[in-house]
């Protein structure tokens, strides 16, 4: 089938692109679906000086374009389309887009996050009319004009510094006491030295005013409650991000804020579904950590596909019954049982095969069949579990199991 893939990656930011590079290099038939700009949020970040190896002379769009070429070089396919629905529960995952329908054996969610809307009066009405969330997109409009920046994290302060290359004056509204910023020290110092930057401390943005175009903002001092009006031509809002997981509600576990919790190897709570980059619960949301997530998920997905394929071929789709032994080389009790079970299976080789699953390497299949203690032997027939022996495994109990084969 033309629209059937080993792996589908939703989103082409740095996390999705890195996953695409790793997966296609491992010869997985891989498709990346992106509705907007390849490069994600990084493609709207001009200043990029913390990606290892690139301390000068690389911009966000350049770096992500290289990643895109890199993925295509290894055969990764890209389609510009928007996902509208997904069915992730089964072994075959179905992804419905505006223009098509795709299936994959594994899915990596790399949908990222988007700038948070503040929700103040005038913000929505004046978006694109002086209210902006993207300095690189809109900075050119503000040559020799005055702008206001709201926020004080890394993104806010870095973008404010970038804006000083264009604007006459940049006023940063900060909620904290004088001298306190959430941004990293090195960025703070650079901002404090910049003569075009002025700070408005202990304050928040109350309202954005203007008739068809931004003319002023109302700034509220949170200590005194006093509201002052400040004339300005532009308002740049950098108050964090929100994950793009709306369509995943009820399909993948999300935390209270909508981010996807994952295991160390990027697994979500759904088998064969991984989450990478800004969309997952994590400590540091940067290009370098996004790329790392992508690499880990692609390798994990590759291993998953291999294990599932093996299990399907050797257990689920076999005509003969199969005894599956769950064991681990680190569990002495299960190790001791191996010879007895091998001997048992070979005695009944006319009606059953034996497959051993190392639960240290593969916990997923054990979990799926509710194997809590090892050693355990499950007997499969026609793709279903027809009997199981766990805990105290005796030759008598095994013989009883053999009668079910």
């Amino acid at each position: 089938m033309a629209n059937s893939y080993d792996l589908i990656i939703i989103g082409a930011g740095p996390a999705g692109l890195a996953a695409g590079i790793y997966a296609s290099r491992s010869k997985l038939n891989t498709l990346v679906i992106e509705k907007g700009v390849i490069g994600g949020q990084a493609a709207t970040t001009e200043e990029m000086e913390n990606y290892p190896g690139f301390y000068q002379g690389v911009t966000g769009p350049q770096l992500t374009e290289h990643m895109h070429e890199h993925a295509e070089h290894f055969g990764c396919k890209f389609v510009k389309d928007e996902v509208v629905d997904l069915d992730l529960a089964g072994y075959e995952k179905v992804i419905v887009t505006k223009n098509g329908r795709y299936t994959a054996k594994a899915v990596i969610i790399a949908t990222g996050a988007e700038p948070r809307v503040l929700g103040v009066k005038g913000e929505k009405e004046l978006k694109g009319k002086g209210v902006s969330y993207c300095a690189t997109c809109d900075a050119d409009f503000y040559e020799d004009l005055d702008v206001v920046v709201l926020g004080n994290g890394d993104a806010a302060i870095e973008e404010a510094i970038y804006l000083t290359r264009f604007a006459a004056k940049v006023s940063i509204i900060v909620i904290h006491d004088e001298g306190i910023l959430d941004a990293t020290k090195v960025i703070q110092e650079r901002a404090f030295r910049n003569e075009k930057i002025e700070f408005i401390w202990n304050s928040t943005l109350e309202e954005i005013k203007g008739d068809g175009i931004v003319e002023a903002v109302a700034v509220k001092n949170i200590k005194t409650g006093e509201v002052t009006e400040l004339e300005t031509n532009g308002v740049f809002i950098f108050v964090g991000t929100v994950p793009k997981t709306e369509m995943l509600k009820g399909k993948v576990e999300l935390d209270q804020r909508g981010y996807i919790p994952t295991s160390e190897i990027m697994e979500t709570n759904v088998d064969g579904v991984y989450a990478v980059g800004d969309v997952r619960v994590k400590y540091l949301r940067q290009v370098v950590t996004a790329a790392a997530d992508g690499a880990i998920a692609a390798v994990a997905a590759e291993k998953y596909l291999q294990e599932e394929e093996n299990f399907k071929n050797e257990v689920l789709e076999k005509e003969l019954a199969t005894a599956v032994m769950f064991w681990s080389p680190f569990h002495q009790g299960s190790l001791d049982m191996v010879p007895m079970i091998e001997e048992f299976a070979s005695r009944h080789s006319e009606k059953m095969d034996l497959v051993k699953i190392d639960t240290y390497r593969n916990q997923r299949i054990a979990r799926r069949y509710d194997v809590q203690d090892i050693p355990a032997v499950l007997l499969f027939k026609g793709g279903e579990v027809v009997g199981r022996v766990a805990g105290d495994i005796t030759p008598e109990r095994l013989e009883k199991l053999a009668t079910l084969a």
Binding site: K35, V37, A43, G128, K129, T136, C137, D140, F141, V214
Partner: protein, 104 residues
Amino acid sequence: MLELNKENFEAEVLSSKGLVLVDFWSPKCVPCMELLPHVEELEGKFEQVKFCKLNILENRRLAIGQKVMGLPTIIIYRDGEKIVELSKDFTHEDLEAKLNEVTA
């Protein structure tokens, strides 16, 4: 697509009869660059609309004069009056729907 500047903007847009589409863009705006080929494609579909583009890097004041302060922005004028304005989060599908509306 017709390239606009301060010399021809008045004549080609504001004093022009009929439907005129203006794509405000900049080579530094990645979403604009993504959108541009789609707009060019739509130009072939809507022959009754005059398609123009304005590079805001070279024509900043002209854009601000049209109250455009953010990219990407697309404005459709009829007889020199703004009738549709799309800014920031819109797709080429949204644009096509608007074009269908105004040409119906």
